[in-house]
Protein backbone atom coordinates (compact mmCIF):
# COMPACT_ATOMS: atom_id res chain seq x y z
CA UNK A 1 0.00 0.00 0.00
CA UNK A 2 2.77 2.46 0.83
CA UNK A 3 4.35 2.47 -2.61
CA UNK A 4 1.21 3.40 -4.55
CA UNK A 5 0.52 6.11 -1.98
CA UNK A 6 3.87 7.68 -2.67
CA UNK A 7 3.31 7.57 -6.39
CA UNK A 8 -0.05 9.19 -5.87
CA UNK A 9 1.52 11.76 -3.58
CA UNK A 10 4.09 12.64 -6.17
CA UNK A 11 1.35 13.06 -8.75
CA UNK A 12 -0.72 15.16 -6.40
CA UNK A 13 2.17 17.33 -5.34
CA UNK A 14 2.94 17.87 -8.98
CA UNK A 15 -0.56 19.05 -9.66
CA UNK A 16 -0.57 21.16 -6.49
CA UNK A 17 2.58 22.85 -7.67
CA UNK A 18 1.00 23.51 -11.03
CA UNK A 19 -2.13 24.92 -9.42
CA UNK A 20 -0.45 26.96 -6.71
CA UNK A 21 2.94 27.66 -8.29
CA UNK A 22 3.97 29.31 -11.53
CA UNK A 23 0.57 28.80 -13.21
CA UNK A 24 -1.19 30.65 -10.41
CA UNK A 25 1.18 33.57 -10.65
CA UNK A 26 0.17 34.00 -14.28
CA UNK A 27 -3.54 33.50 -13.67
CA UNK A 28 -5.66 36.51 -14.63
CA UNK A 29 -7.14 37.11 -11.19
CA UNK A 30 -9.21 40.03 -12.42
CA UNK A 31 -11.35 38.02 -14.83
CA UNK A 32 -11.48 35.24 -12.27
CA UNK A 33 -13.10 37.62 -9.79
CA UNK A 34 -15.53 39.00 -12.41
CA UNK A 35 -16.51 35.48 -13.39
CA UNK A 36 -17.13 34.58 -9.76
CA UNK A 37 -20.09 36.97 -9.84
CA UNK A 38 -21.73 34.84 -12.56
CA UNK A 39 -21.19 31.75 -10.37
CA UNK A 40 -24.00 32.86 -8.07
CA UNK A 41 -26.34 31.59 -10.81
CA UNK A 42 -24.22 29.39 -13.07
CA UNK A 43 -22.41 27.48 -10.31
CA UNK A 44 -18.82 27.75 -9.06
CA UNK A 45 -16.56 28.38 -12.09
CA UNK A 46 -19.61 27.93 -14.32
CA UNK A 47 -20.19 24.26 -13.48
CA UNK A 48 -23.93 24.42 -12.79
CA UNK A 49 -25.29 21.91 -10.29
CA UNK A 50 -28.59 21.92 -12.16
CA UNK A 51 -31.31 24.08 -13.67
CA UNK A 52 -29.04 26.89 -14.95
CA UNK A 53 -27.08 26.55 -18.20
CA UNK A 54 -23.63 25.07 -17.52
CA UNK A 55 -21.16 27.46 -19.12
CA UNK A 56 -17.87 25.87 -17.98
CA UNK A 57 -15.83 24.35 -20.79
CA UNK A 58 -18.02 25.57 -23.65
CA UNK A 59 -16.33 26.82 -26.82
CA UNK A 60 -14.84 30.27 -26.32
CA UNK A 61 -16.12 31.73 -29.57
CA UNK A 62 -19.60 30.36 -28.96
CA UNK A 63 -19.73 31.83 -25.44
CA UNK A 64 -18.56 35.22 -26.70
CA UNK A 65 -21.22 35.18 -29.42
CA UNK A 66 -23.98 34.20 -26.98
CA UNK A 67 -22.99 36.94 -24.55
CA UNK A 68 -22.96 39.60 -27.27
CA UNK A 69 -26.31 38.44 -28.59
CA UNK A 70 -27.75 38.78 -25.09
CA UNK A 71 -26.18 42.23 -24.88
CA UNK A 72 -27.56 43.51 -28.17
CA UNK A 73 -30.95 41.95 -27.57
CA UNK A 74 -31.00 39.52 -30.50
CA UNK A 75 -31.13 36.43 -28.23
CA UNK A 76 -34.28 36.03 -26.15
CA UNK A 77 -33.63 35.77 -22.40
CA UNK A 78 -35.31 36.11 -19.05
CA UNK A 79 -32.37 37.84 -17.37
CA UNK A 80 -29.09 37.44 -19.29
CA UNK A 81 -29.77 40.43 -21.54
CA UNK A 82 -29.92 42.61 -18.44
CA UNK A 83 -26.63 41.25 -17.08
CA UNK A 84 -24.73 41.27 -20.39
CA UNK A 85 -25.53 44.96 -20.88
CA UNK A 86 -23.43 45.74 -17.81
CA UNK A 87 -20.20 44.64 -19.50
CA UNK A 88 -18.04 46.01 -22.33
CA UNK A 89 -17.43 43.72 -25.30
CA UNK A 90 -13.84 43.29 -24.18
CA UNK A 91 -15.00 42.22 -20.70
CA UNK A 92 -17.42 39.72 -22.27
CA UNK A 93 -14.60 38.30 -24.43
CA UNK A 94 -12.42 37.79 -21.36
CA UNK A 95 -15.30 36.15 -19.48
CA UNK A 96 -15.96 33.85 -22.46
CA UNK A 97 -12.28 32.88 -22.56
CA UNK A 98 -12.24 32.26 -18.80
CA UNK A 99 -15.32 30.02 -18.74
CA UNK A 100 -14.13 28.10 -21.81
CA UNK A 101 -11.04 27.09 -19.79
CA UNK A 102 -13.05 25.77 -16.79
CA UNK A 103 -13.87 22.11 -16.33
CA UNK A 104 -17.56 21.32 -16.91
Amino acid sequence: MSKPIHILCAALLGSTLLAGGPAAAEEDTQVRSWAASCSACHGSAGASVGGMPAIAGQDRGKLATLLKEFKNGTRPATVMHQHAKGYTDEELDRLAAYFSRQRP
Partner: protein, 425 residues
Protein backbone atom coordinates in the same frame (compact mmCIF):
# COMPACT_ATOMS: atom_id res chain seq x y z
CA UNK B 1 -8.36 25.15 -11.19
CA UNK B 2 -7.87 23.40 -14.47
CA UNK B 3 -5.65 20.82 -12.79
CA UNK B 4 -6.73 17.66 -11.08
CA UNK B 5 -8.18 18.90 -7.79
CA UNK B 6 -8.36 17.22 -4.42
CA UNK B 7 -12.08 17.01 -4.76
CA UNK B 8 -11.93 15.20 -8.11
CA UNK B 9 -9.34 12.93 -6.62
CA UNK B 10 -11.61 12.00 -3.74
CA UNK B 11 -14.53 11.59 -6.13
CA UNK B 12 -12.50 9.36 -8.43
CA UNK B 13 -10.91 7.14 -5.85
CA UNK B 14 -13.44 7.07 -3.01
CA UNK B 15 -12.73 6.63 0.67
CA UNK B 16 -9.44 4.78 0.24
CA UNK B 17 -8.23 7.60 -1.94
CA UNK B 18 -9.32 10.12 0.63
CA UNK B 19 -7.32 8.24 3.25
CA UNK B 20 -4.16 8.23 1.23
CA UNK B 21 -4.78 11.84 0.34
CA UNK B 22 -4.77 12.67 4.04
CA UNK B 23 -1.36 11.02 4.20
CA UNK B 24 -0.18 13.11 1.28
CA UNK B 25 -1.48 16.30 2.83
CA UNK B 26 0.70 15.61 5.85
CA UNK B 27 3.73 15.04 3.65
CA UNK B 28 3.04 17.78 1.14
CA UNK B 29 1.49 20.55 3.19
CA UNK B 30 3.56 23.62 3.72
CA UNK B 31 2.97 25.90 6.66
CA UNK B 32 0.10 28.31 5.90
CA UNK B 33 1.33 31.77 4.94
CA UNK B 34 -1.45 33.53 6.86
CA UNK B 35 -4.65 32.98 8.76
CA UNK B 36 -7.97 34.59 7.88
CA UNK B 37 -10.80 34.40 10.40
CA UNK B 38 -14.34 34.74 9.03
CA UNK B 39 -17.16 35.63 11.44
CA UNK B 40 -20.56 34.43 10.23
CA UNK B 41 -21.45 31.51 7.95
CA UNK B 42 -24.27 33.06 5.91
CA UNK B 43 -24.35 33.98 2.23
CA UNK B 44 -21.36 36.31 2.69
CA UNK B 45 -19.14 34.54 5.21
CA UNK B 46 -19.45 30.97 3.93
CA UNK B 47 -18.71 32.12 0.39
CA UNK B 48 -15.68 34.15 1.47
CA UNK B 49 -14.30 31.20 3.44
CA UNK B 50 -14.69 28.80 0.52
CA UNK B 51 -13.27 31.16 -2.11
CA UNK B 52 -10.16 32.04 -0.13
CA UNK B 53 -9.44 28.31 0.17
CA UNK B 54 -10.19 27.74 -3.53
CA UNK B 55 -8.04 30.59 -4.74
CA UNK B 56 -5.28 30.48 -2.12
CA UNK B 57 -4.93 27.08 -0.44
CA UNK B 58 -1.79 28.37 1.22
CA UNK B 59 -3.98 30.57 3.45
CA UNK B 60 -5.61 29.05 6.51
CA UNK B 61 -9.29 29.93 7.01
CA UNK B 62 -11.22 29.67 10.29
CA UNK B 63 -14.99 30.15 10.11
CA UNK B 64 -16.79 31.10 13.32
CA UNK B 65 -20.49 30.28 13.29
CA UNK B 66 -22.78 29.40 16.19
CA UNK B 67 -25.52 27.67 14.18
CA UNK B 68 -25.25 24.00 13.26
CA UNK B 69 -26.27 24.60 9.61
CA UNK B 70 -26.97 27.31 7.06
CA UNK B 71 -30.67 28.11 6.56
CA UNK B 72 -31.49 30.22 3.52
CA UNK B 73 -33.58 33.37 3.92
CA UNK B 74 -34.23 33.46 0.16
CA UNK B 75 -37.05 30.96 -0.52
CA UNK B 76 -38.10 30.95 3.16
CA UNK B 77 -41.32 32.80 2.28
CA UNK B 78 -42.24 29.62 0.39
CA UNK B 79 -42.32 27.82 3.74
CA UNK B 80 -45.03 30.29 4.78
CA UNK B 81 -46.88 29.69 1.50
CA UNK B 82 -46.58 25.95 2.05
CA UNK B 83 -44.68 24.84 -1.08
CA UNK B 84 -41.27 24.31 0.59
CA UNK B 85 -40.05 22.98 3.93
CA UNK B 86 -37.33 24.53 6.06
CA UNK B 87 -35.27 21.33 5.76
CA UNK B 88 -35.08 21.84 2.02
CA UNK B 89 -33.53 25.26 2.63
CA UNK B 90 -30.92 23.94 5.05
CA UNK B 91 -27.33 23.02 4.14
CA UNK B 92 -24.62 21.79 6.51
CA UNK B 93 -21.10 23.18 6.81
CA UNK B 94 -19.43 19.75 6.50
CA UNK B 95 -18.35 20.18 2.87
CA UNK B 96 -16.60 23.45 3.62
CA UNK B 97 -14.53 21.48 6.10
CA UNK B 98 -14.05 18.22 4.19
CA UNK B 99 -13.63 19.48 0.64
CA UNK B 100 -12.16 22.91 1.18
CA UNK B 101 -10.21 22.58 4.42
CA UNK B 102 -12.05 25.40 6.18
CA UNK B 103 -11.68 25.10 9.97
CA UNK B 104 -15.11 25.43 11.51
CA UNK B 105 -15.50 26.78 15.04
CA UNK B 106 -19.03 26.41 16.45
CA UNK B 107 -19.00 29.45 18.68
CA UNK B 108 -20.09 33.07 18.87
CA UNK B 109 -17.60 35.88 18.30
CA UNK B 110 -18.12 38.38 21.11
CA UNK B 111 -15.29 40.87 20.66
CA UNK B 112 -12.54 41.92 18.29
CA UNK B 113 -9.22 43.24 19.50
CA UNK B 114 -7.91 44.87 16.33
CA UNK B 115 -4.59 45.89 17.94
CA UNK B 116 -3.76 42.35 18.96
CA UNK B 117 -5.56 41.02 15.88
CA UNK B 118 -7.62 38.61 17.93
CA UNK B 119 -11.25 37.54 18.00
CA UNK B 120 -12.69 36.65 21.39
CA UNK B 121 -15.25 33.87 21.52
CA UNK B 122 -18.13 33.21 23.90
CA UNK B 123 -16.71 29.82 24.87
CA UNK B 124 -13.41 28.93 23.21
CA UNK B 125 -9.92 30.44 23.30
CA UNK B 126 -9.28 33.67 21.38
CA UNK B 127 -8.46 33.29 17.68
CA UNK B 128 -5.54 35.18 16.17
CA UNK B 129 -5.88 36.48 12.62
CA UNK B 130 -3.84 38.20 9.95
CA UNK B 131 -7.02 39.50 8.30
CA UNK B 132 -10.57 39.34 9.62
CA UNK B 133 -13.78 39.11 7.59
CA UNK B 134 -16.96 40.04 9.44
CA UNK B 135 -20.23 38.94 7.85
CA UNK B 136 -22.64 39.24 10.77
CA UNK B 137 -25.95 39.90 9.04
CA UNK B 138 -28.44 42.07 10.89
CA UNK B 139 -29.56 42.74 14.44
CA UNK B 140 -33.06 44.03 15.26
CA UNK B 141 -33.60 47.42 16.88
CA UNK B 142 -36.20 46.27 19.40
CA UNK B 143 -35.47 49.37 21.47
CA UNK B 144 -37.57 51.26 18.91
CA UNK B 145 -40.60 49.04 19.71
CA UNK B 146 -40.97 49.06 23.53
CA UNK B 147 -43.84 46.56 23.49
CA UNK B 148 -41.53 43.96 21.97
CA UNK B 149 -38.78 44.32 24.58
CA UNK B 150 -39.35 40.95 26.25
CA UNK B 151 -38.59 37.49 24.92
CA UNK B 152 -42.20 36.55 25.55
CA UNK B 153 -43.55 39.41 23.43
CA UNK B 154 -41.05 38.53 20.70
CA UNK B 155 -42.27 34.95 20.68
CA UNK B 156 -45.87 36.08 20.13
CA UNK B 157 -45.13 38.72 17.51
CA UNK B 158 -42.57 37.11 15.21
CA UNK B 159 -40.23 38.70 12.69
CA UNK B 160 -39.34 35.55 10.70
CA UNK B 161 -36.72 37.79 9.06
CA UNK B 162 -33.92 35.35 9.86
CA UNK B 163 -34.86 31.98 8.42
CA UNK B 164 -35.14 29.05 10.82
CA UNK B 165 -37.31 28.42 13.89
CA UNK B 166 -39.10 31.78 13.46
CA UNK B 167 -40.13 30.83 9.92
CA UNK B 168 -41.58 27.53 11.10
CA UNK B 169 -43.33 29.21 14.04
CA UNK B 170 -44.93 31.83 11.80
CA UNK B 171 -46.19 29.09 9.45
CA UNK B 172 -47.79 27.41 12.51
CA UNK B 173 -49.50 30.67 13.47
CA UNK B 174 -50.87 30.99 9.94
CA UNK B 175 -52.12 27.40 10.02
CA UNK B 176 -54.02 28.08 13.23
CA UNK B 177 -55.68 31.28 12.00
CA UNK B 178 -59.46 31.01 11.42
CA UNK B 179 -60.96 31.48 7.95
CA UNK B 180 -61.78 35.17 7.90
CA UNK B 181 -58.86 36.08 10.16
CA UNK B 182 -56.40 38.90 9.54
CA UNK B 183 -52.64 38.53 9.05
CA UNK B 184 -50.91 41.90 9.41
CA UNK B 185 -47.31 42.47 8.30
CA UNK B 186 -45.43 45.60 9.31
CA UNK B 187 -42.47 46.70 7.14
CA UNK B 188 -39.81 49.06 8.55
CA UNK B 189 -38.42 52.08 6.74
CA UNK B 190 -35.73 51.25 4.19
CA UNK B 191 -32.93 50.26 4.30
CA UNK B 192 -33.68 46.79 5.62
CA UNK B 193 -32.66 43.24 4.65
CA UNK B 194 -34.22 42.00 1.38
CA UNK B 195 -36.23 44.93 -0.05
CA UNK B 196 -38.75 42.80 -2.03
CA UNK B 197 -39.06 40.22 0.76
CA UNK B 198 -42.10 41.68 2.55
CA UNK B 199 -44.08 42.01 -0.66
CA UNK B 200 -43.20 38.44 -1.64
CA UNK B 201 -44.29 37.37 1.84
CA UNK B 202 -47.66 39.08 1.37
CA UNK B 203 -48.13 37.10 -1.87
CA UNK B 204 -47.11 33.82 -0.23
CA UNK B 205 -49.48 34.22 2.71
CA UNK B 206 -52.24 35.19 0.26
CA UNK B 207 -51.40 32.09 -1.81
CA UNK B 208 -51.97 29.96 1.29
CA UNK B 209 -55.15 31.78 2.32
CA UNK B 210 -56.64 31.57 -1.16
CA UNK B 211 -56.47 27.78 -1.08
CA UNK B 212 -57.27 27.10 2.57
CA UNK B 213 -58.84 30.18 4.19
CA UNK B 214 -60.26 32.27 1.35
CA UNK B 215 -62.10 34.75 3.56
CA UNK B 216 -58.88 35.75 5.37
CA UNK B 217 -56.99 38.95 4.75
CA UNK B 218 -53.35 39.99 4.31
CA UNK B 219 -52.84 43.52 5.54
CA UNK B 220 -49.51 45.06 4.50
CA UNK B 221 -48.59 48.05 6.64
CA UNK B 222 -45.55 49.75 5.19
CA UNK B 223 -43.61 52.48 7.00
CA UNK B 224 -42.32 53.54 3.58
CA UNK B 225 -44.22 55.98 1.37
CA UNK B 226 -44.52 53.31 -1.33
CA UNK B 227 -43.60 49.74 -2.28
CA UNK B 228 -39.80 49.82 -2.27
CA UNK B 229 -39.10 47.10 -4.87
CA UNK B 230 -40.76 45.71 -8.04
CA UNK B 231 -43.84 47.83 -7.33
CA UNK B 232 -45.77 47.30 -10.57
CA UNK B 233 -45.09 43.57 -10.59
CA UNK B 234 -46.25 43.07 -7.01
CA UNK B 235 -49.39 45.20 -7.25
CA UNK B 236 -50.36 43.36 -10.43
CA UNK B 237 -49.77 39.96 -8.83
CA UNK B 238 -51.75 40.89 -5.71
CA UNK B 239 -54.74 42.31 -7.57
CA UNK B 240 -54.94 39.65 -10.28
CA UNK B 241 -54.09 36.58 -8.25
CA UNK B 242 -55.35 37.48 -4.78
CA UNK B 243 -58.19 40.00 -5.26
CA UNK B 244 -59.85 40.96 -2.02
CA UNK B 245 -57.15 39.25 0.03
CA UNK B 246 -54.15 41.62 -0.04
CA UNK B 247 -54.53 45.20 1.12
CA UNK B 248 -51.57 47.58 1.04
CA UNK B 249 -51.22 50.74 3.14
CA UNK B 250 -48.16 53.01 2.76
CA UNK B 251 -46.89 55.54 5.34
CA UNK B 252 -47.85 53.28 8.23
CA UNK B 253 -45.53 54.59 10.89
CA UNK B 254 -45.17 52.21 13.81
CA UNK B 255 -45.32 53.69 17.30
CA UNK B 256 -45.55 50.49 19.34
CA UNK B 257 -46.93 46.98 19.51
CA UNK B 258 -49.18 45.40 22.12
CA UNK B 259 -48.10 41.77 21.96
CA UNK B 260 -50.82 40.58 24.37
CA UNK B 261 -53.74 41.87 22.27
CA UNK B 262 -51.87 41.58 18.93
CA UNK B 263 -52.38 45.27 18.24
CA UNK B 264 -50.22 47.51 16.09
CA UNK B 265 -50.17 51.07 17.32
CA UNK B 266 -49.64 53.13 14.20
CA UNK B 267 -49.44 56.90 14.00
CA UNK B 268 -53.15 57.80 13.93
CA UNK B 269 -54.77 54.37 14.40
CA UNK B 270 -54.61 51.00 16.13
CA UNK B 271 -54.88 47.80 14.13
CA UNK B 272 -55.73 44.44 15.65
CA UNK B 273 -54.79 41.23 13.87
CA UNK B 274 -55.08 37.49 14.39
CA UNK B 275 -51.46 36.97 13.38
CA UNK B 276 -49.13 39.91 13.75
CA UNK B 277 -45.77 39.83 11.97
CA UNK B 278 -43.46 42.75 12.64
CA UNK B 279 -40.19 43.13 10.77
CA UNK B 280 -38.27 45.41 13.14
CA UNK B 281 -35.87 48.12 11.99
CA UNK B 282 -32.32 46.80 11.67
CA UNK B 283 -28.63 47.51 11.99
CA UNK B 284 -25.43 45.53 11.42
CA UNK B 285 -25.11 42.43 13.64
CA UNK B 286 -23.84 42.75 17.21
CA UNK B 287 -20.20 41.86 16.62
CA UNK B 288 -19.96 44.73 14.10
CA UNK B 289 -21.15 47.13 16.76
CA UNK B 290 -18.85 45.72 19.41
CA UNK B 291 -15.86 45.85 17.05
CA UNK B 292 -16.47 49.52 16.23
CA UNK B 293 -17.21 48.79 12.57
CA UNK B 294 -20.44 50.80 12.44
CA UNK B 295 -19.83 54.15 10.76
CA UNK B 296 -23.24 55.28 9.41
CA UNK B 297 -26.32 56.35 11.42
CA UNK B 298 -25.36 54.01 14.25
CA UNK B 299 -26.52 51.23 11.96
CA UNK B 300 -24.31 50.19 9.05
CA UNK B 301 -20.62 49.53 8.36
CA UNK B 302 -18.92 51.74 5.80
CA UNK B 303 -16.39 49.88 3.64
CA UNK B 304 -13.98 50.59 0.81
CA UNK B 305 -15.76 48.82 -2.04
CA UNK B 306 -12.47 47.98 -3.77
CA UNK B 307 -11.62 45.54 -1.00
CA UNK B 308 -14.59 45.60 1.46
CA UNK B 309 -12.07 46.74 4.10
CA UNK B 310 -13.73 48.64 6.93
CA UNK B 311 -13.45 52.43 6.86
CA UNK B 312 -13.11 52.34 10.64
CA UNK B 313 -10.82 49.41 11.52
CA UNK B 314 -7.79 48.38 9.46
CA UNK B 315 -7.33 44.72 8.62
CA UNK B 316 -11.05 44.00 9.01
CA UNK B 317 -13.39 43.46 6.04
CA UNK B 318 -17.19 43.63 6.28
CA UNK B 319 -19.66 41.90 3.95
CA UNK B 320 -23.34 41.59 3.22
CA UNK B 321 -26.37 43.19 4.83
CA UNK B 322 -24.21 44.75 7.57
CA UNK B 323 -22.50 47.11 5.11
CA UNK B 324 -23.58 50.62 4.27
CA UNK B 325 -24.80 49.65 0.83
CA UNK B 326 -23.34 51.41 -2.20
CA UNK B 327 -25.90 53.38 -4.28
CA UNK B 328 -28.51 51.10 -5.88
CA UNK B 329 -27.25 48.05 -4.02
CA UNK B 330 -29.89 46.04 -2.14
CA UNK B 331 -29.24 44.08 1.05
CA UNK B 332 -29.57 40.62 -0.48
CA UNK B 333 -28.02 37.17 -0.21
CA UNK B 334 -26.89 37.48 -3.83
CA UNK B 335 -25.05 40.73 -3.08
CA UNK B 336 -23.45 39.20 0.03
CA UNK B 337 -22.19 36.32 -2.13
CA UNK B 338 -20.73 38.82 -4.58
CA UNK B 339 -19.24 41.01 -1.81
CA UNK B 340 -17.53 37.85 -0.57
CA UNK B 341 -15.77 37.38 -3.87
CA UNK B 342 -14.42 40.95 -3.87
CA UNK B 343 -13.30 40.33 -0.29
CA UNK B 344 -11.67 36.95 -1.03
CA UNK B 345 -9.74 38.34 -3.99
CA UNK B 346 -8.67 41.47 -2.09
CA UNK B 347 -7.67 39.62 1.07
CA UNK B 348 -5.49 37.25 -0.97
CA UNK B 349 -3.98 40.22 -2.82
CA UNK B 350 -3.22 42.05 0.41
CA UNK B 351 -1.68 38.97 2.00
CA UNK B 352 0.43 37.98 -1.00
CA UNK B 353 1.44 41.53 -1.94
CA UNK B 354 -0.31 41.65 -5.30
CA UNK B 355 -2.27 44.72 -6.42
CA UNK B 356 -5.92 44.81 -5.32
CA UNK B 357 -8.17 44.62 -8.42
CA UNK B 358 -8.80 48.30 -9.27
CA UNK B 359 -11.94 47.48 -11.24
CA UNK B 360 -14.30 45.08 -9.47
CA UNK B 361 -17.60 44.19 -11.16
CA UNK B 362 -20.44 42.50 -9.29
CA UNK B 363 -24.15 41.98 -9.86
CA UNK B 364 -27.43 41.25 -8.17
CA UNK B 365 -30.63 39.41 -8.98
CA UNK B 366 -33.51 39.08 -6.53
CA UNK B 367 -36.13 36.54 -7.53
CA UNK B 368 -39.51 36.80 -5.75
CA UNK B 369 -42.24 34.15 -5.83
CA UNK B 370 -45.77 35.48 -6.26
CA UNK B 371 -47.19 31.92 -6.13
CA UNK B 372 -45.68 28.45 -5.73
CA UNK B 373 -44.39 28.55 -9.33
CA UNK B 374 -44.39 32.10 -10.71
CA UNK B 375 -41.59 34.54 -10.18
CA UNK B 376 -40.55 38.14 -10.83
CA UNK B 377 -36.97 39.43 -10.68
CA UNK B 378 -35.00 42.63 -10.36
CA UNK B 379 -31.40 42.65 -11.58
CA UNK B 380 -28.47 45.07 -11.61
CA UNK B 381 -24.75 45.19 -12.43
CA UNK B 382 -22.36 47.22 -10.27
CA UNK B 383 -18.96 48.55 -11.35
CA UNK B 384 -16.35 50.44 -9.40
CA UNK B 385 -16.24 54.14 -10.23
CA UNK B 386 -12.77 55.46 -9.43
CA UNK B 387 -13.91 59.10 -9.39
CA UNK B 388 -16.80 58.41 -7.02
CA UNK B 389 -14.76 55.84 -5.08
CA UNK B 390 -17.66 53.42 -4.82
CA UNK B 391 -19.53 50.76 -6.75
CA UNK B 392 -22.27 52.23 -8.93
CA UNK B 393 -25.12 50.54 -10.78
CA UNK B 394 -24.35 50.45 -14.52
CA UNK B 395 -26.86 52.51 -16.45
CA UNK B 396 -28.71 50.64 -19.16
CA UNK B 397 -28.01 47.29 -17.52
CA UNK B 398 -30.28 45.37 -15.17
CA UNK B 399 -34.03 45.64 -14.96
CA UNK B 400 -37.20 43.75 -14.12
CA UNK B 401 -39.20 40.80 -15.40
CA UNK B 402 -41.94 41.95 -17.74
CA UNK B 403 -44.50 39.80 -15.92
CA UNK B 404 -44.53 36.99 -13.34
CA UNK B 405 -43.81 33.69 -15.11
CA UNK B 406 -43.06 30.05 -14.38
CA UNK B 407 -39.88 29.80 -16.46
CA UNK B 408 -38.30 32.24 -14.00
CA UNK B 409 -39.84 30.15 -11.23
CA UNK B 410 -37.67 27.27 -12.44
CA UNK B 411 -34.64 29.53 -12.74
CA UNK B 412 -35.23 30.91 -9.26
CA UNK B 413 -35.21 27.41 -7.75
CA UNK B 414 -32.09 26.64 -9.81
CA UNK B 415 -30.46 29.87 -8.66
CA UNK B 416 -30.99 28.85 -5.03
CA UNK B 417 -29.48 25.43 -5.62
CA UNK B 418 -26.48 26.91 -7.38
CA UNK B 419 -25.77 29.71 -4.93
CA UNK B 420 -26.03 27.34 -1.96
CA UNK B 421 -23.57 25.03 -3.69
CA UNK B 422 -21.36 28.01 -4.56
CA UNK B 423 -21.17 28.97 -0.89
CA UNK B 424 -21.19 25.63 0.87
CA UNK B 425 -20.45 22.60 -1.33
Amino acid sequence: MTSFSRRDFIKATGAAGALSLAGCAAIGQRKPIARVVVIGGGYGGATAAKYIRLWAPQIEVVLVEPNPAFVSCPLSNLVLGGSRTIDELTTGYDNLVKRHGVQLVRDTAVAVDADKRQVRLAHGDPLAYDRLIVSPGIAFLYDQIPGLATAEAQSRVLHAWKAGPQTVALRKQLESIRDGGVYALHIPKAPYRCPPGPYERAAQVAFYFKQHKPRSKVLVLDANPDITSKKGLFTKAWSERYPGIVEYRPNSELIDVDARTLTLKLLGEDIKADVLNVVPPQRAGDIAKQAGLITANDRWCGVDWLSTESLAVKGVHVLGDATLSAPGMPKSGFMANNHAKIAADAVIALITGREVNPHPIIANTCYSFVSDTDVVHVASVHKYDAAKKTLVAVEGAGGLSSVANDLEGKYAQAWAKNIWADALL
